[in-house]
């Protein structure tokens, strides 16, 4: 898709912004329709409805009719959540009720429910909801340009899997024509290349192992399960951050800035910091529109209010991934970890000051390791096929150790681990500002050599048999 859209778009550069926007919009709709044409009307209709709602809210605010503006905003939020609920969660609820009733002997065989889940629905409904909230808060003027608004919603690099852009950051960029800029195009292409490396050399390489172990927990011991949990967290990161890099890089080539989604999460020293670095556009979305409003509402309750808002927020993060009890429990797990982190925050800081640990490197690494371990266990829960499987695996991790499962895993433990080391080296360099820049080196020779080696590494060692991205299912 990018291969067709980018050159055409570049040809339109130096022209009016409108031509570029319409071209990108067409490309985005073709892209979306190609993924699943049946749900294209839903995307188009909701876009028009929210466009009209935005103008309605803006007019109500300007006329001093705050109540009408609030009602229209509430309608927008309810509609967005309703659409999401209908397509993503209703079938699950019907099945759960059917199961419950069948336990009482009622015939529920007719209660099967098949709904096509539109691609990217969790991403574009969040974009639509944030738009009406921002217009109501008067932090953004409603756009009068339907083509610009529709492009914000459907922008092809991000519609499938994010990052979830905010209207205030994205829409103003569409006002100016984007000019062909060799540096931006080269930088964007390198970002895409890096994302591709993470996807095919790490995520897809590790997948056979994590699938084999986590899908068949009864056949594996605690050692293999522990390794699978660690590898799955890395796999998920490489998959999703890799996709995000590709989306951001593609947008960059088109002259558009898209929000960052990851900031080296495995360097986080506690769970709160981890969530500031992992799937940033989802967590900041929920912080701004759910956590802070709830926190403000519950402020008279003191710390209890804060814990309540935290738990609701994290439960929503878990459930956002889909209708599955493992996701709900994942949210609760991280919610509890966050509450504990918050409760211990001040005593911890005092303790660290007293023992002179603030600057101690070993202590920082110990905290990073603890955070990573907690997140691995969370990732295992996230990936488990059922809560029963997760309980079984956790039990085995405690009591049933033995030799590692290694059948047919040579490429995983050689090429996979080598790729992980390359990724870790880059992240360490970026996090600690070590100043080694290979892809962006001043010397053209080093830049070209790095790109060539990276392409060769991907071609010769990557898993190139088109696996899909984990986050497409959400």
């Amino acid at each position: 898709m990018a291969l067709i859209a980018v050159p055409m778009y570049t040809a339109l550069m130096h022209n009016r912004a409108r031509y570029q926007n319409v071209w990108l919009l067409l490309a985005s709709y073709v892209f979306y329709g190609y993924a699943d044409w049946r749900t294209l009307p839903l995307l188009a209709v909701t876009t028009v409805v929210y466009y009209a709602l935005g103008i309605g809210i803006d007019r109500a605010n300007k006329a001093g009719a705050a109540r009408r503006a609030s009602w229209l905003t509430a309608a927008g939020v309810v509609l967005g959540v309703g659409v999401l609920f209908y397509f993503k969660y209703l079938g699950f609820c019907v099945r759960q009720f059917a199961e419950l009733f069948s336990q009482f002997g009622l015939d529920t065989s007719g209660a099967t429910f098949a709904i096509v889940v539109p691609v990217g629905i969790s991403f574009f409904t969040f974009k639509l909801i944030s738009y009406v909230i921002e217009v109501n808060r008067e932090t953004l003027a409603a756009t009068r340009r339907l083509d610009e608004f529709a492009l914000y919603v459907a922008f092809f690099p991000t519609i499938m899997s994010g990052p979830i852009d905010r209207p205030g950051q994205f829409l103003p960029q569409l006002k100016q024509p984007r000019r062909a800029d060799a540096t931006a195009i080269a930088d964007g292409a390198k970002r895409v290349l890096w994302g591709w490396f993470a996807k095919v050399c790490i995520a897809d390489r590790l997948m056979p192992y994590t699938d084999a172990v986590i899908n068949n927990p009864e056949h594996h011991n605690g050692a293999s399960i522990t390794l699978a949990a660690v590898l799955y967290l890395i796999q998920m990161y490489a998959d999703f951050a890799g996709y995000s890099d590709m989306a951001i890089g593609t947008a960059q080539m088109l002259g558009l800035r898209v929000a960052e989604n990851f900031k080296r999460p495995f360097f986080a020293r506690n769970i709160a910091e981890y969530w500031q670095r992992w799937h940033i556009t989802l967590t900041t979305w929920l912080t701004d529109y759910v956590f802070m409003p709830l926190n403000i509402k519950f402020r008279s309750l003191g710390m209890t209010g804060l814990y309540l808002a935290t738990m609701i927020n994290l439960l929503l993060i878990g459930m956002w991934h889909g209708p599955n009890w493992t996701y709900a429990l994942f949210g609760i797990y991280h919610g509890v970890l966050l509450c504990v982190t918050t409760a211990l925050d001040r005593p911890r800081k005092k303790w660290e000051k007293r023992h002179g640990l603030r600057q101690a490197q070993w202590y920082a690494w110990l905290r990073r390791l603890l955070t990573f371990v907690l997140c691995c266990w969370g990732a295992l829960l996230f990936r488990s096929n059922s809560i029963g499987d997760f309980a079984l695996m956790t039990g085995k991790m405690i009591s049933e150790w033995g030799p590692l499962y290694t059948q047919g895993t040579t490429p995983i433990f050689s090429l996979g681990l080598l790729s992980i080391l390359i990724l870790a080296g880059k992240e360490y360099n970026d996090e600690m500002n070590k100043g080694v820049h290979l892809l962006h080196n001043r010397s053209r020779v080093i830049r070209l050599t790095t790109v060539t080696l990276l392409v060769a590494f991907i071609v010769f060692t990557g898993v190139l048999e088109g696996a899909t991205f984990i986050y497409f299912q959400f």
């Binding site: 403000i296 402020r299 209010g305 804060l306």
Partner: protein
């Protein structure tokens, strides 16, 4: 209440809640300028300000503040 008097009272409240020895707030001060002013202490500040001035803010007001100046606008409008 004079705007300067509101600022003085706010200085005291900020010192108290954020455990600071001294602070001088001005119109443009924001959470970026004070390390101790994070999302956790933000809520505690709001509760202390409401109590100190005997007022109640709406959620929309709180969410849209960008700096102390806007916070003072909201306080002044309620006194």
């Amino acid at each position: 209440m004079e705007r300067s008097a509101i600022f003085e009272k706010l200085n005291d409240i900020f010192c108290d809640v954020l455990d600071l020895d001294e602070v001088t707030l001005d119109e443009a001060t924001s959470a970026d300028d004070i390390d101790e002013w994070d999302s956790l202490s933000h809520i505690q500040l709001i509760v202390a300000i409401e109590k100190g001035f005997g007022i109640k803010f709406s959620s929309k007001e709180i969410i849209t503040w960008k700096n102390v100046g806007q916070m003072v606008d909201s306080i002044a409008a309620k006194l």
